[in-house]
Symmetry: C2
Subunit: 418 residues, 2 copies
């Protein structure tokens, strides 16, 4: 079989498995996840041995230390994968849930029932943990998954994929509910993206190159977890100490994440008081500042910002600061330069808060809280596949429920259309 036939056959089997999963009990699905956890624990040696091959290849290819670190599986990372499986076992099963029901005048009952999406295709880079985390969420919600990892994690991904398939089959689930595309051939991704009749949704997890490739080539609906160009707007009327604490957390608690702040917008009326205070704390946190002209005069360490800077996702200890005259200007800036991800206002003014909540067009809008809190666990949803900043199907954390959609079920007694 050539690569096209292989991927097509895999997708066909995943689809068939998805129809079996639709009608499998929560107990059986949890049993399968327990079997995966037991297998990871039992096969630690094998996992580390296969992972070492990838690390060795990576060293030969001079991959960065940061990349090799993300690639590496040791006992503590295996523990973390086992913990993530147990976390998902503890979450409620969304599949089959009746979310609403109305009786119509003709006597028929119209219900909405939550159902798995079917087959989820995940295209991801470097971290092999994704194999376990993604398949635990897809299995629990009743979906099949096709995993296509980066070629640098080839040995780790095929090892984990093989263990998962074996474990779920031993627990009575179809092995084809989890597949790993076992090739480093890039053509396989292009093929996957065309298989609309078998794959229901594609989730790309990786850098801009991967996301752009998927966007250009997919004939399957895509759920994007894109760039996070996030803002905090400090309103004229606010608690300055809170504004400083929340801003510094949003920027510096973990700058590499998508929900970290990239631009701080400050109302002109409060700039003189707020900016020196926040600068002192930002400098302590090793953040370097780029500022627009009007903010420069209140800041002693800032370099001048150019317009392109306001579109950038630094993912680093760098922050743009800009002064705005009104809340309208702040909202307009966020909707124009932002990536519709996570944006916050710090204010004591209820009217300003209400306007910001409604008018900022982002997946999550925060009032008096750090954008870093945009997260499945923090929101009480449990584990997640990432944070969607698109508008259809799901905005924000993509957790178990978001791996389902609702179909209509109509219960009648012979109703016809007149």
């Amino acid at each position: 079989m050539d690569i096209i036939e292989q991927v097509t056959e895999m997708a066909k089997r995943a689809k068939a498995a998805s129809y079996i999963l639709m009608n499998i009990s929560t107990d059986l699905k949890n049993g399968a996840l327990r079997a995966v956890a037991a297998s990871l624990d039992k096969n630690r040696g094998e996992i580390k041995r296969r992972n070492a091959l990838d690390i060795e290849n990576g060293r030969k290819k001079n991959l960065t230390a940061a990349f090799l670190d993300r690639l590496m599986l040791d006992d503590s990372r295996i523990d973390a994968m086992i913990k993530s499986l147990n976390d998902v076992i503890a979450l409620p099963d969304p599949a089959g849930e009746i979310t609403s029901s109305v009786k119509r005048p003709n006597g028929m009952e119209v219900l909405k029932m939550r159902m798995p999406l079917g087959v989820v295709g995940i295209i991801f880079e470097s971290r092999p943990n994704v194999c376990v985390e993604a398949s635990s969420l897809t299995l629990k919600s009743g979906n099949s998954v096709i995993l296509r990892g980066g070629s640098d994690a080839f040995n780790s991904n095929t090892c984990l994929g093989g263990l998962i398939r074996e474990a779920i089959a031993s627990a009575g689930l179809p092995a084809d509910a989890v597949s790993v595309v076992a090739t480093t051939d890039r053509e396989a991704v292009g093929e996957m993206l065309k298989l609309k009749q078998y794959i229901d949704v594609i989730i790309p997890r990786g850098g801009k190159g991967l996301v752009d490739f998927v966007a250009e080539n997919s004939r399957i609906p895509v759920i994007y977890h894109d760039a996070g160009v996030c803002h905090t707007y400090v309103d004229a009327d606010c608690d300055i100490a809170m504004a400083v604490r929340v801003s510094v957390n949003a920027k510096a608690q973990r700058p590499s994440t998508c929900n970290s702040m990239e631009t701080l917008l400050v109302n002109a009326a409060i700039a003189e008081k707020f900016l020196p205070a926040v600068e002192a704390e930002l400098l302590k946190a090793k953040v370097s500042i780029k500022a627009d002209e009007s903010a420069m005069k209140y800041l002693k360490s800032a370099a001048p910002a150019v317009e392109e800077d306001f579109y950038r996702e630094y993912n680093d200890y760098i922050l743009n600061i800009k002064i705005v005259g009104t809340i309208d200007a702040a909202i307009a800036h966020i909707n124009k330069y932002g990536s519709h991800h996570s944006d916050a206002i710090i204010t004591s003014d209820a009217l300003a808060a209400a306007r910001f909540e409604k008018e900022v067009d982002s997946a999550a809008v925060f009032v008096n809280a750090s954008t870093r809190l945009h997260d499945g666990f923090e929101f009480g949803l449990g584990a997640e596949m990432g944070i969607s900043n698109q508008k259809l199907h799901v905005r924000g954390p993509m957790a178990l429920k978001e791996l389902t959609s609702e179909k209509y079920v109509v219960r009648g007694s012979g109703q016809i259309r007149g």
Copy 2:
């Protein structure tokens, strides 16, 4: 300006208008819809005059009588458009609704808020009524709309678009909330489909050629309202009179619609009793039958069906009939040959009903009711843009709520991430 600049400029203005619409009161939106209704009533002469140009061009081009009928606007069709506006005015406004709220251990409140999608692009064929029906739904839900109709309805669409823009502007809404792409140039559609930064969703309404073109070329998420290859499965244990009545309604009440039945699946155990009974009624309704080999022996009028027939959407007085041994075979047939649209079971067996509900992978599943009931009005949702048979975002009728999605709003008191 060339066509690319024109469409880009239109989309940019539509986006700007969408941000204004996000914060406009329900009263103001209803006032604008009333102004549109008044304008249609006042400008009947102008509408009919401009429509007559399209009809005349269509006659010259030898368009079919059915096509010309769909294109035609007379007083009763203008009345129907006015009625559809009043219907939408009476529906509740979904925008801004808080759909859930939880308090987290750190004291922050996590809410979900329903918000307009932003800019909706609608690409449609022939019926100019769509201009009014689609813009009433998008406006009421707080969205801007860009309408690109077929070139054969060019004069009608630009006339209606102009009247709508004038009317909503007179009521205080931005005119750019509704735009009609005023060109017959096909390139304009290709351009629209690339404007991801301004248009949030594309809804194609038309035949397979249009839908395939959009699927191949869109970089914007698409909501499909595709083919309806719908089924009714008559179970072994059922009320035969009900099965006959519901089946005949599903096929013959209005065969041109997407929720009409194309294939009747019959359990072998009931075939001898049911098939002659249903055939008699189908013949009265002028339906011609194609049947698989085993069904042929119970039917006097049937022609033999070939496998391809089971994939076809006849939209006509033609019906496939096939005998299946078990409910499993019925479900497998529907999931394989169907279009995941509307499928029914007729049964007295609660277990069979429950399995069919869960395992049939369609937007709407009916137990003891006609597939023809798959409709926004019948389900109590009011007017709709069509019926989605995709899985993401919306399955089934796309009504007002489905023109929104939910964003997170977090209300805090200085919470940060630890």
